[in-house]
């Protein structure tokens, strides 16, 4: 009897594991559980919903032996929406046009300094701690949005798939540390807070900035786009000059 139920359950599991429905549903459930805690703790940085959803889902994959490719069959529907969401960032950008025009010069300088700092500080720290050359080259473009970062990694001899992972980790870590760092420095200008967050932590930082303040969200979106451009131009050039 028990074995009959077990086989039946196993048959259902095998069926569901191949369907996009399960992975998609589990992704939404994990995120909403994270989101619930995030709201309950008043948007506490350590309760970042991306961080906790990823931890829960990685645990679940390890537990069930499901492969990432199998999981992505369902999760790709959520992943796809990143494209139109990126386009939608034009709206907060447009709404803050006046503030941005006024801050054009400080933004331009902060962009170049910040972009170089992001790569140099990551590569420098990892080099001191004995990381391999592959890891160093994969780390250099980690602050910019995934598709740009992967392209740069390929160009400078890193591993694009490792870079994709480092980019996401950078975003999560950036979204967690940004409030602490900026509060410690007593920076109250939401424009600077947003710009620094988007520059260092691309879309995941921008997602947090959008939740905290409208101007911060707009400056964060802008910094994310500009740093993608700046890193794509500066980094390969710099590496050619040094090596």
């Amino acid at each position: 009897m028990d074995t009959a139920v077990d086989t039946e359950l196993y048959r259902i599991w095998v069926y569901l594991a191949q369907q996009p429905l399960l992975a998609l549903t589990v992704t939404l459930l994990a995120y909403q559980a994270g989101q619930w805690v995030y709201r309950r703790t008043n948007l506490h940085p350590l309760a970042n919903p991306v961080l906790w959803a990823v931890i829960m889902l990685v645990g679940l994959l390890k537990l069930t032996g499901c492969s990432y490719a199998q999981y992505f069959e369902g999760a790709k529907f959520v992943h796809f929406l990143l494209g139109p969401a990126t386009v939608a960032l034009a709206v907060p950008l447009y709404n803050n046009l006046k503030e941005m025009r006024r801050a054009a010069l400080p933004m331009g300088v902060a962009l170049v300094v910040g972009s170089l700092t992001a790569s140099a500080s990551a590569v420098g720290t990892a080099w001191v701690l004995g990381a391999t050359r592959d890891t160093l080259a994969s780390l250099a473009p980690k602050s910019v949005t995934t598709p740009i970062a992967m392209g740069i990694a390929e160009q400078i001899g890193g591993l694009p798939s490792l870079t994709a992972v480092l980019v996401i980790l950078t975003g999560i870590i950036g979204a967690v540390v940004t409030t602490y760092t900026l509060d410690a420095l007593r920076i109250r200008d939401w424009r600077a807070r947003g710009f620094a967050t988007g520059l260092a932590a691309h879309g995941i930082g921008t997602a947090r900035a959008l939740q905290l303040n409208d101007a911060a969200g707009a400056f964060s979106s802008l910094a994310m786009g500009l740093n993608g451009l700046a890193t794509a131009i500066l980094l390969p050039l710099l590496i050619r000059l040094i090596f």
């Binding site: 995120y31 034009a90 709206v91 490792l162 920076i187 807070r193 710009f195």
Partner: protein, 125 residues
């Protein structure tokens, strides 16, 4: 969310993807799509109500959209585990230093050029 405006976002992305490949810009299609929509808004002179609502629908849940890519960390767990100290230190140090340096440069230069943030752009204590 209005279907018409969701379509508008997709059309902008499609134009972006096409331009990115056509002109070899080295920027992702969606980022160029964002610039296309931004240019459209500049010409139009205001954000239509339906577009505002649709954009908010996407942006309110922006963090969710990074979860599938984030789970991709599972494919590199062993490499990350091998060099975990170097990698995590590099990411944490770099995040703190980059955020601090960028924000400080921007605040100093804003003060120097005499453009303080408006009242809405100032964080309350």
């Amino acid at each position: 969310m209005t279907l018409g405006f969701v379509t508008l976002l997709l059309v902008c992305q499609l134009i972006g993807e096409t331009l990115a490949r056509l002109l070899n810009l080295g920027l992702p299609g969606p980022v160029i799509g964002m610039l296309v929509l931004f240019t459209g808004l500049l010409i139009r002179g205001h954000v239509p109500e339906g577009l505002r609502a649709t954009a908010n629908g996407f942006l309110n849940n922006l963090s969710l959209l990074f979860v599938p890519a984030g789970v991709g960390v599972v494919t590199h767990l062993s490499l990350v585990a091998d060099e975990w100290l170097a990698i995590t230190s590099a990411l944490v140090v770099s995040a703190v230093v980059t955020i601090a340096v960028t924000a400080l440069v921007m605040v100093w230069l804003s003060r120097l050029t005499g453009n303080a943030p408006g009242p809405e752009a100032r964080k309350e204590d």
